[in-house]
C-alpha cells in the first residue's frame, strides 16, 4: 500500500467526474496521488527571503557569534523535518561563519554555515540544513541568525533564503499532522479497479483538503539587523536598517494572492508575527497599521496577531488572474509618524528610548 505521488502532479479529467458519469478508478487513483503530492510539496518554496545591498550588513566581531536577525517561519507539517538554508555572504579571510538557530516548540536546533566567497558574489553561495530530530506540532518556529567574523576581517551578508525540503514519494505510513489538523496519506494500491471504493476514501479526502487549506504560506517576511559592526566609517559601511522606517512604506510590501472563500471559513486565517524592540526605559505600548488594521503591541519582543481580510484587491489581480493584495505595513499617516525613528533614539542617546518595529512576518493560507 504505497502512499506514492507523481511529480508533476496529475489532474483528473473533469469530464469524467460530472453528474451521471460512472466513477472510474483512474480518477480516484489520481485524486489520491494529487492529494499526496500536495501534502509532500505544498509550501516548500521560499519561507524566508531577504537581501541587503553591499556595505550594509557587516560584522567584524571575531570573539563570539553576534545575534543579528530573527524571523518566524511556518511549519508545513510534523513530517517536514529538513529546513534548507542558503546564505549569500562574503569575507576576505577564511573563517567567517553564520549560525542559524531554530527554536521550534520545545526543541532548539543549530547549524553553522562557513562562508567561502572572498568578494561580493565572487563564486558561490553557502548552504546548511537543520534536521529536526523530534516531532513538533507548532504552527511556526523562530529562526535566528548570528554571525562571527574571522580575526582581523569583516563578514558581509548579501542575502538569505530558506525552504522546507519536500517529502519524497512515498509518504510515511500512518496519520500525519499539521498542528491539530490530520492528514491521512492515500495508498494508491488501495484505489485500483479491483478494490471497492470505500467511505474511508471520501471522508479522508475531505479532511485532507481541509488540512492542506490551513497550511500557511509566507506573504511577507522582514527582519531588522542588530549588532552590526564595521571598521569602516558609518557613511561607508554598516548603516543597515534596524527598523522599518517611514521611507519604507511606499514600497516595503508584498503583492500576494489570497483566495476567495477564506472569509467563510473561520479556520483559514492570516497571522502576523511582530517583533517590537525598545532598548531601555519603560515600554507602554506600540501601535501601527497593518493590512488595514491597527495593531497594538503591549509588550516588547515577538507578539502574534490574527488579521482579518479587509483590504481591497490590488490593481495587479487581473494580470495575475488571482486576488492579489498589498501585504505589509500600511502607508498611512499614523505609520509615517510611528516609523519616523532615528538611530540615536533607538539607542536612547538623547535621553529617551523609542520603540521600533524590528521584525515582521505575515503568513496566510
Amino acid at each position: 500500500m504505497s502512499n506514492s505521488y507523481t511529480s508533476s502532479p496529475t489532474l483528473v479529467d473533469p469530464g469524467r467526474v460530472t453528474a451521471s458519469r460512472t466513477i472510474r478508478s483512474t480518477e480516484i487513483s489520481r485524486l489520491g496521488d494529487l492529494s499526496n503530492y500536495c501534502f509532500a510539496t505544498g509550501g516548500t518554496s521560499n519561507v524566508l527571503s531577504q537581501a541587503w545591498d553591499d556595505s550594509t550588513f557587516r560584522q567584524d566581531d571575531s570573539s563570539a557569534f553576534i545575534s543579528m536577525c530573527e524571523w518566524y517561519i511556518p511549519s508545513l507539517s510534523s513530517s517536514h523535518q529538513s529546513l534548507n538554508i542558503v546564505l549569500s555572504a562574503w569575507c576576505g579571510t577564511a573563517g567567517g561563519t553564520a549560525r542559524f538557530v531554530l527554536d521550534y516548540g520545545t526543541a532548539t536546533y543549530t547549524t553553522d554555515i562557513t562562508i567561502t566567497d572572498t568578494s561580493r558574489y565572487s563564486s558561490s553561495f553557502n548552504t546548511g540544513t537543520i534536521t529536526l530530530t523530534s516531532t513538533q506540532n507548532e504552527f511556526a518556529a523562530k529562526l535566528t541568525m548570528a554571525v562571527k567574523a574571522p580575526s582581523g576581517d569583516e563578514v558581509e551578508v548579501l542575502g538569505v533564503m530558506a525552504n522546507w525540503v519536500a517529502l519524497s514519494s512515498p509518504l510515511p505510513t500512518g496519520e500525519l499532522f499539521h498542528t491539530l489538523s490530520r492528514y491521512t496519506p492515500q495508498g494508491i494500491n488501495r484505489l485500483g479497479a479491483n478494490l471497492p471504493l470505500s467511505a474511508r476514501f471520501g471522508v479522508e479526502m475531505l479532511e485532507n483538503i481541509n488540512t492542506l487549506r490551513r497550511r500557511p504560506r509566507v506573504l511577507f517576511s522582514w527582519s531588522g539587523v542588530e549588532g552590526v559592526s564595521s571598521g569602516e566609517a558609518i557613511e561607508d559601511a554598516g548603516a543597515v536598517p534596524r527598523a522599518i522606517g517611514s521611507g519604507d512604506l511606499a514600497s516595503m510590501f508584498s503583492e500576494s494572492a489570497l483566495f476567495p472563500g477564506m472569509v467563510e471559513d473561520s479556520t483559514l486565517n492570516i497571522f502576523a508575527y511582530v517583533n517590537v524592540k525598545q532598548n531601555g526605559g519603560t515600554f507602554s505600548s506600540y501601535e501601527f497599521d497593518l493590512f488595514g488594521q491597527r495593531i497594538t503591541c503591549t509588550s516588547t519582543g515577538w507578539s502574534t496577531f490574527t488579521l482579518n481580510l479587509r483590504e481591497s484587491e490590488s490593481d495587479r489581480s487581473t494580470e495575475f488572474g488571482l486576488s492579489m493584495y498589498r501585504v505589509g505595513p500600511d502607508d498611512t499617516v499614523h505609520n509615517t509618524e510611528r516609523f519616523f525613528v532615528f538611530g540615536k533614539d533607538m539607542d536612547g542617546l538623547r535621553g529617551v528610548y523609542v520603540p521600533y518595529l524590528a521584525g515582521l512576518t505575515i503568513m496566510g493560507v
Binding site: S7, S8, P9, L11, V12, P14, T18, A19, R21, I23, E27, I28, R30, Y37, C38, T41, G42, S45, N46, S49, A51, D53, T56, F57, S88, S123, S124, L158, G159, M161, N163, S198, A199, F201, G202, M205, L206, I209, W222, I234, A239, V240, P241, A243, G245, S246, G247, D248, A250, S251, M252, F253, S254, E255, S256, G261, E264, F339, F342, G343
Partner: protein
C-alpha cells in the same frame, strides 16, 4: 481542466458514507478543491526586501538604522551591478513572473534592469543560463529626491518557449525548462543606475491545465 482560485465549499462528508450513492458532484468538488491546492495555492513565491544603507547627511546628528526618506539610495556603484535572488522552484514552475520596486537615478540617461535565470549547480552564481530573460529599459527616474519607489512587472503572459541568447527587449516572464523545475534557481538581476528595494518572484498561475 479549469483551475479554481477559490476555496470552494466542500461536499458534506455524509455524502461519502457507506450506503450512500456517491454522486458525480461530490467527486467533482473534491477534484476541483485538490487542483486549487496543487495548481494555485501551492504555487511558489518569494518576496525579497532589499535593504540599503540608512546613512544620510543628518546621520551624525540623528544616527542611522531606519530608512526615513528615499534619497541617498543611488550610488555610483549601481552601474552594471548584479544581484542574485535564490528561488526554490516547484514542479509547476514553468514560468516565473517578477515584480520589483526600484528607484532610478535622478537624471540618468537610461536606467535599466536585466533579469535572467541560472541553474545553481555546485552552489555557483554562474551556473548554466536557463533563460536569458529580458531587459527593462528606460525605467522611471526619480523626479525629485523624495520621490517614492516605482514598480515594474514582467507580466504573466508567455505562450512560447524562448530561444533568445541575450536579454529580450520585450518584457516577459522567465521560462524554466522542465528538467529544472523543482530545483533551486538563481534569478540574476543586473541594474544600471537603479537601486532595487524589493524583488518578488512568482510561479505563474494557469487558468486551464490539460490533465
Amino acid at each position: 481542466m479549469l483551475i479554481p482560485t477559490a476555496f470552494i465549499k466542500l461536499p458534506d462528508e455524509s455524502g461519502c458514507y457507506n450506503g450512500e450513492v456517491v454522486m458525480g458532484g461530490t467527486v467533482s468538488q473534491i477534484a476541483f478543491a485538490l487542483s486549487q491546492l496543487s495548481h494555485c495555492k501551492f504555487l511558489g513565491e518569494a518576496h525579497y526586501q532589499v535593504a540599503h544603507s540608512t546613512y544620510s547627511g543628518s546621520a551624525f546628528v540623528q544616527g542611522t538604522g531606519a530608512r526615513l526618506h528615499n534619497y541617498n539610495q543611488i550610488r555610483s556603484a549601481y552601474k552594471g551591478y548584479e544581484y542574485n535572488f535564490l528561488y526554490q522552484s516547484t514542479a509547476l514552475s514553468s514560468k516565473l513572473a517578477c515584480l520589483f520596486s526600484y528607484a532610478g537615478e535622478q537624471g540618468a540617461d537610461d536606467p535599466s534592469v536585466t533579469i535572467e535565470v541560472r541553474s545553481t549547480a555546485s552552489n555557483s552564481y554562474t551556473g548554466t543560463v536557463l533563460d536569458y530573460g529580458c531587459e527593462f529599459v528606460n525605467l522611471e527616474t526619480q523626479g525629485f529626491s523624495l520621490a517614492p519607489d516605482a514598480f515594474a512587472f514582467t507580466g504573466t503572459l508567455l505562450d512560447y518557449e524562448p530561444t533568445n541568447t541575450s536579454a529580450d527587449l520585450i518584457v516577459r516572464p522567465l521560462f524554466i525548462p522542465s528538467a529544472n523545475r523543482g530545483e533551486l534557481l538563481n534569478i540574476k538581476v543586473t541594474v544600471q543606475d537603479v537601486a532595487l528595494s524589493g524583488f518578488h518572484i512568482y510561479d505563474v498561475y494557469e487558468v486551464e491545465v490539460t490533465p
